[in-house]
Symmetry: C2
Subunit: 243 residues, 2 copies
């Protein structure tokens, strides 16, 4: 990706070039229809002046018309829920959707960021540090006009509230999939390993998940396809992406 | 900050509105000059068709003209150097300069990020973790079209190289101010405290600073005002901001 600009000089010269050819067009039409050169030149002389004035007032008038204008405030969409609830899947689908709309979007996945900071464990202290790191990253991106879609178990209410405090426009989505369903899905076989005692501090098994008290959105993915769940999110999101 | 968009429908209706008034203008000019309504209507009928075609070909032709076009690839400008070398001051000045150019810029200051992660100390391991965190943050911002201006002592060559590996367009600026000058300036009285034994692991005193082997730019701030040093950076930066 890169930033593309056109210089002021390019715009000035392109404007002059357009006016030249547009006026030449008018002159030719009048001359061909009437055979009178003086008339053709008079029309185009008046046209140059009036079109410039007209363009200016047309722009000013449209400045007062709000039809079709949209302002999107960047936000941090934070998916929280048990392992296997469907956070990353829904986050990826949402990211894809918003990118297609032409928005600048960054997905942040708890697991992927842990892979970059491998010394991060799963004690409360280490989880908090991890989430604080992701939260700070999210807030920085948000400040720079990037929409953030984060997917993290983020099991503690207090930590989620701390991240909310860092962000300007924090939107908490509680992926409320029942433990039994998550354990049945078990996409990465982590529940099986946790039950076998191979993993400690596993949220839902031997580590608590504090249910969000007041999330902006709550979604139960049980008996729903990914696409159905995403449609619910899309509908909810419209108030953040349409203005 | 927010993202501003205009919908396609707004553009379509605004285009029709412009064509309507522009053609009305031509019709009026011809009618007033000649008094012939049929001629005026004929001119404007031909004008509508020819102007739309002309506009299209004008745009296509300008697409092939590169005059005044600029593409800026985002980059991470990484100031490294001893405490008191002038990194943060020059970073702030550079950030201000690039923002005024209308670019999306984020300044990352080692000290400020340490304040958010207060458990970060100054052992080699803790420094590395800190710089890795800032480097990752920088790379994420860069990926999202944000220019990053970072100011960190970042004393180890290996760690700087690791951050370089994370970023797409890493520009290392070695603020090469001699230790004696830094110690003389001592803006935060840290050298004084380090000499008094109040601070451990202080770079330049009891912790090493590994001189960058191959930085993109090297600047000695000795005997130079901030503005003079900044002018050197500005000149160097032109190859990244002008294309």
């Amino acid at each position: 990706m890169s930033m593309y600009y056109e210089s002021k000089r390019r715009s000035v010269i392109k404007t002059i070039s357009w006016r030249f050819f547009a006026t030449l067009d008018t002159t030719l039409i009048v001359f061909i229809l009437t055979g009178k050169l003086l008339l053709a030149v008079s029309v185009s002389g008046i046209e140059i002046v009036t079109k410039i004035a007209l363009y200016f007032f047309h722009e000013r008038a449209w400045n007062k018309i709000n039809f079709g204008r949209r302002t999107i405030q960047p936000f941090v969409l934070w998916f929280t829920g048990l392992p296997g609830a469907g956070k990353s899947t829904l986050a990826a689908r949402t990211t894809e959707y918003l990118r297609k709309k032409g928005l600048q979007v960054q997905q942040l996945d708890g697991d992927k960021i842990r892979a970059i900071f491998p010394d991060t464990g799963f004690t409360r202290e280490e989880r908090d540090r991890h989430i604080q790191r992701v939260g700070y990253l999210a807030s920085m991106l948000e400040q720079n006009n990037v929409i953030v879609i984060a997917a993290l178990i983020s099991p503690y209410e207090a930590t989620r509230r701390a991240v909310r405090g860092l962000c300007r426009n924090f939107v908490e989505v509680y992926v409320d999939t029942p433990l039994t369903v998550c354990e049945e899905r078990d996409p990465k076989h982590l529940y099986r390993r946790a039950r076998a005692g191979e993993i400690d501090h596993f949220t839902g098994i031997d580590d608590p998940y504090e249910i969000p008290r007041d999330p902006e959105f709550r979604i139960n993915t049980e008996n729903k396809s990914v696409e159905e769940s995403f449609q619910d999110i899309k509908k909810f999101l419209s108030k953040y992406t349409d203005t």
